[in-house]
Symmetry: C2
Subunit: 221 residues, 2 copies
Amino acid sequence: MTSVEEPARSNGRTRDAARTQAEILDVATQEFARVGFAGARVDDIAARTSTTKRMIYYYFGGKEQLFTAVLERAYGVIREAEQELDVEHLDPVAAIRRLAELTFDHHEQHPDFIRLVSIENIHGAEHIAASEKLGKIGSPALDVIRRILASGQRSGLFTADVDAVDLHAMISSFCFFRVSNRHTFGALFGRDLVDPAQREHYRAMLGDMVIAYLTAPRAEA
Amino acid sequence: MTSVEEPARSNGRTRDAARTQAEILDVATQEFARVGFAGARVDDIAARTSTTKRMIYYYFGGKEQLFTAVLERAYGVIREAEQELDVEHLDPVAAIRRLAELTFDHHEQHPDFIRLVSIENIHGAEHIAASEKLGKIGSPALDVIRRILASGQRSGLFTADVDAVDLHAMISSFCFFRVSNRHTFGALFGRDLVDPAQREHYRAMLGDMVIAYLTAPRAEA
DNA sequence: ACTAATGTACGAACTGGTGAGTTAGTAATA
DNA sequence: TATTACTAACTCACCAGTTCGTACATTAGT
């Protein structure tokens, strides 16, 4: 982010704090996602950088804070993407399906982010808790869901009694699991959930599931 | 799981290989689940045991193999539980709902197992791949799903064109996510997915979702 | 007596973090 | 313009504390 492209210096070694920080974050993101927080080595991260380990401590303070910074940037990317959601011109059913599909696509396109979130959950979300930035940023996607849901429920199209957060959990769980548990699931059941050939199948399955749930005829009560 | 109830041996230091191994596995399971593979310390695991670090290497060979052994036992517990599934006397709709509920309960009751699976996924399921035991054991639950599904599809009750593995993925994803992503989800959206007061709500939501998906009227095609 | 099981002590390699000094950019001043 | 003064950006070498693993001694059970 904010790469200060200095046009003059072609090859490299100009002094550029923003660039150095961004490079550290790039490498750290890969490393943390690859081997987890405890598994990552500050020395290795530094080695993959064009700068030194000292700079990591200079800019971020420590391994823990570096991980927090990585998380903050990763969540920032998500939020940016969510802000570009443009589905409210559709009817509620189509809008929800489209939203589910975009969530599906986004998870598929950002496996590193999903690994980071898995790792952060193993650590009890302590870095998120420790971060000011990540504390109270509501999800734009949640607002969108809220409005679509209200519209669909008002018109009687949606019969399910869910709120936006729960629906978001439902959609996310499928998208997240498909990527996060790809390896164990594949090893145990012999099916690659992220097989490109099955992509459309699972994308449709998610949409069908969500719409079926929202529009199912409620017999009783 | 396979707790160390040795009835005969009164207090302590009798020589009992099986018991020592089981104790090591108990502690190792907790530690690995708590802080991940790289985060776990062999010395700490040993310290929480009534035996010594030497025994870990004596019986398991090393940290990596210990983790594999922990995984093997954890999956064994799951398989045992799945073998006690008894839902096929119900009609397909009720059977699937019941199966989903049991899966839901099981995930909730074994958060350590879920953490281990998350961790194993971060490591690309390499330990499962390296294990002979975990290689080719089909899931009993999968067989049950397969039969219920076939029955429901034959009778026309189930309109969805899913197979057992995909349905298992769908059910698991919700159950798994609810526990595995509890912390980040709670931190970001302010809702505890594992709040006991919401338990029935989410349990019903899962059942409704799966049944709605399976029985949804397929308009087109 | 013999062996499986167990405990103690130790070390080589690693790991996060830091101390201390250097270089590049920049703006004020002469 | 040249000089000086200042600071952000950076490098290198090292430390203090861990961490996995093992050599060796010892004990319990048969």
